[in-house]
Amino acid sequence: MSLKDQLKIMVVDDMTTSRGLIEQAMNEIGIWNVVSEADGQSAFRTLMAKPVHLVISDYNMPNMDGLQLLEQLRLSKATARIGFILVTGRADNAVLQKGRQLGMNNCLLKPFSVPQMKACIEKVVGRL
């Protein structure tokens, strides 16, 4: 089984549009095993029951932002080893710094192209 087929990914974004864009990118890359959630809370709840390999999450979300979700994931044994890519609209050093401390695997600046997204994932999991 190739890595693409094996890889299971969750997309987290409160905006339907951006969620759709990331899902569409996954589709074009050829990653089929994709689930998505519209907020950090439900993402965390779902991941507790059904973990994935990699979470691709937006940073800017109400109630629980991307980094808070990452923190929650790292705190719980069942989800601590899930990979995490943060998608953000701003190159904010403080955010990157905090992400690094929390064990964020990679990040991507919006707007992104499909090859950029692919490269970003490959840097974490290896060649797709």
Binding site: T16, S18, G20, Q24, K50, H53, N105
Partner: protein, 666 residues
């Protein structure tokens, strides 16, 4: 891609709503951090989406706005009332850019001054942004997802009596379990008492369940979530060979994610409007067929009627509820509409060189979507009027001891099955002497006419009336208050104006909650069945008992305590017959128009009063003067719904000519 793009613009609408919501919170209590955050988040989301779709102008502007908001957020810049106004302006511009982008205009429409003003705020923020992300990726080994999915589970489930006492049903849980995979359920009958031992008082059944599924344990636990503590439950995972792969875990051991519960966001789905309309139409038909059924029942002998009656009552109640619920789908809060109006106030004030603010009440009040949409134009015009003509300029306000900023208050409230929207300004009020003089100059009223205050105020709604000699950029856009009035009336609404000199003016609009049904009086005349909307109806009586006086050739007036009311044959007005010379057996309906004029319609017979489903004529036929719409009655016949206001006009005019006076005779 285009579906995503459409979705983006739709989402932008919601995001812009949050922007203005945040701004009004900022305006109300200064530097609320959460309000700034909310505005920032919304603008940021717009920028993100716009970037993905290459909407350059939108990206450029939301970027600088975002930076300014970030400066406020981080405390690098202070937010005061001047800044809030700037942000409002920026929000308005952002709305414009979104609208332009939605129309396919990717660039253009920039406002350099606004851009610079925002840049001035965020000047303090460092602009290292475009340097890109400097981040060392952390690699990850892709292992099979843990825990290794089990091939199946063995579950032992034994309910306690409390489970049944709490109203839970094991069969439903087992069925739900069956949705996770193939299940094999064996009932444990060992505790079942023999027949002669009598009835068991405590539950005696248990089940052993084999589940073949690669689902996670938590999903199984979820099925039994509500049975927690009300049963014995064991879930044991096994691998393909049927061996236990884990120690048994009992219900209490299952770790539950400790998540702080927040109030759940309202769950919504997006539905094509056409589907909702179809549903509304069907329910409308259902209401009609219910009426038909009721009609048919009146012909059944009472002995047989009785048993059906109860069922019929329930049916009627249900169809009523169904109708209400369906209409509620189309209902939406007036919030969006009110927010748009706050922009109109800002713009109008800027153009008129006045200071004004909008205060809204009851923005959660829900009204039919179509009503909301069709209120935009009349309300816009009225708000412009209020700012332009109603409010005085700051100097004059201060001279008369008022706050220098004028206040326009917009409120919505549900009142007896209608929604009442009130627009109030704290301006100078209507200058009645001037209004009267203008009306005389324009020939709308005679020099010697005695007019009450209310009548003078209502002159504003007359076609061709404008108090400003010069056409101002604001209100003078080719629509007068007469157009506002007819638009409101087209929605089945009423509009009235009340003013106190020096204190302010209030315009009140009363609207039906929906355009789909209305209350009407069903009447018969000239062999036709007609419906008169009850909103216009004031009183009904028999012509034979009424103080009728013949007047002129075939004309009649009704003598009322407070004046004479012209009588007018409904059948002949609509061209069904020529007017009868005498009214004997006829019934009279006293109708009052929006302008407060009264006229009595003569009809052959009044049948009953009921709710009717409105079927538009325009789209199926054409507009007919005096007819507002049509409906289908219980017996399947089609009845025209009368436009009382329109019909009353010629009658009143006729009367006015007869008496040489204005309107009706006092």
């Amino acid at each position: 891609m285009s579906a995503l793009l459409d979705g983006f613009f739709e989402e932008c609408g919601e995001l812009l709503e949050s922007v203005f919501e945040g701004l009004s919170a900022l305006e109300a209590d200064g530097g609320d951090q959460e309000a700034v955050n909310a505005v920032f988040r919304a603008v940021h989301s717009i920028k993100g989406g716009a970037g993905a779709f290459g909407l350059e102008a939108l990206v450029a502007f939301s970027h600088v706005l975002e930076n300014a908001l970030d400066a406020f957020r981080s405390g690098a810049a202070q937010i005061g009332s001047k800044e809030v106004q700037l942000l409002y302006e920026a929000g308005d511009h952002l709305s414009d850019l979104v609208e332009r982008a939605a129309r396919g205009q990717v660039s253009g429409g920039e406002m350099p001054d606004l851009h610079r003003a925002l840049e001035g705020i965020c000047g303090a923020v460092d602009q290292e942004e475009d340097a890109g992300l400097d981040f060392q990726p952390l690699t990850l080994d892709i292992l099979p997802l843990e825990p290794e999915p089990a091939a199946g589970f063995d579950i032992v489930f034994r309910p306690h009596a409390t489970l049944f006492e709490n109203g839970h049903e094991p069969a439903l849980m087992l069925r739900e379990l069956g949705e996770l995979g193939a299940i094999d359920v064996v009932a444990d009958l060992s505790a079942l008492p023999t027949l002669d031992a009598g009835l068991a008082k405590t539950p005696v059944l248990g089940w052993q369940i084999g589940l073949e599924s690669d689902c996670h344990r938590a999903q199984i636990a979820e099925v039994f979530e509500f049975a927690e503590g009300l049963c014995d439950l064991e879930i044991i995972a096994r691998d393909a060979e049927g061996l236990k792969v884990e120690d048994p875990v009992t219900q209490s051991d299952i770790d539950r994610p400790e998540v702080v519960e927040r109030a759940p966001a309202r769950e919504t789905i997006r539905v094509d409007l056409a589907r909702v309309d179809r549903l509304i139409n069907i329910v409308g038909e259902l209401v009609i067929s219910e009426a038909m059924l009721r009609q048919a029942m009146t012909e059944i002998p009472v002995a047989k009627y009785g048993p059906i009656e109860a069922a019929m009552g329930q049916f009627r109640q249900l169809s009523g509820q169904l109708q209400e619920s369906v209409l509620a789908i189309r209902a939406q809060p007036v919030k969006g509409l009110f927010q748009r109006m706050s922009r109109i106030v800002r713009e109008a004030a800027r153009e008129a060189g006045k200071e004004a603010r909008l205060v809204t009440h009851g923005s959660a009040t829900e009204v039919d979507r179509t009503v909301v949409e069709r209120l935009v134009d009349p309300l816009t015009h009225m708000i412009r009027n209020a700012v332009d003509h109603g409010l005085e300029d700051s100097d004059r306000r201060q001279a008369s001891g008022k706050a220098s900023t004028g206040t326009v208050t917009l409120s919505a409230v549900h009142r007896s099955g209608r929604v009442v929207i009130e627009l109030q300004d704290d301006g100078g009020g209507i200058d009645r002497e001037r209004v009267r003089q203008i009306a005389i100059d324009k020939g709308l009223v005679g020099e010697s006419d005695e007019l009450s205050d209310a009548e003078i105020d209502n002159l504003l709604f007359r076609p061709g009336f404008s108090t400003r000699s010069e056409v101002s950029n604001l209100s003078g856009r080719g629509v007068g208050m007469d157009v506002v009035k007819s638009e409101i009336q087209a929605l089945g609404g009423r509009v009235s104006i009340h003013s106190e000199f020096g204190v302010g003016t209030t315009v009140t609009i009363s609207l039906p909650l929906t355009l789909a049904v209305m209350e009407g009086m069903v009447v018969e005349t000239a062999g036709e069945i007609l419906v008169v909307p009850t909103t216009a109806l004031r009183e009904t009586f028999k012509a034979s008992n009424a103080p009728l006086h013949a007047l002129g050739a075939g004309g009649h007036v009704l003598n009322r305590r407070d004046g004479l009311v012209p009588v007018f044959d409904l059948g002949s007005a609509l061209g069904f017959r020529t007017a009868p010379g005498e009214y004997g057996d006829h019934s009279l309906l006293l109708v009052e128009t929006e302008a407060g004029r009264r006229v009595a319609f003569a009809v052959d017979r009044i049948r009953d009063q009921r709710e009717v489903v409105i079927k538009g004529l325009q789209q199926n036929y054409q507009e007919i003067p005096g007819v507002a719409a049509a409906t289908i009655l219980g017996d399947g016949r089609i009845a025209l719904i009368v436009d009382a206001d329109q019909l009353a006009e010629p009658a009143v005019r006729g009367g006015a000519e007869l008496y040489g006076g204005a309107g009706y005779v006092q």
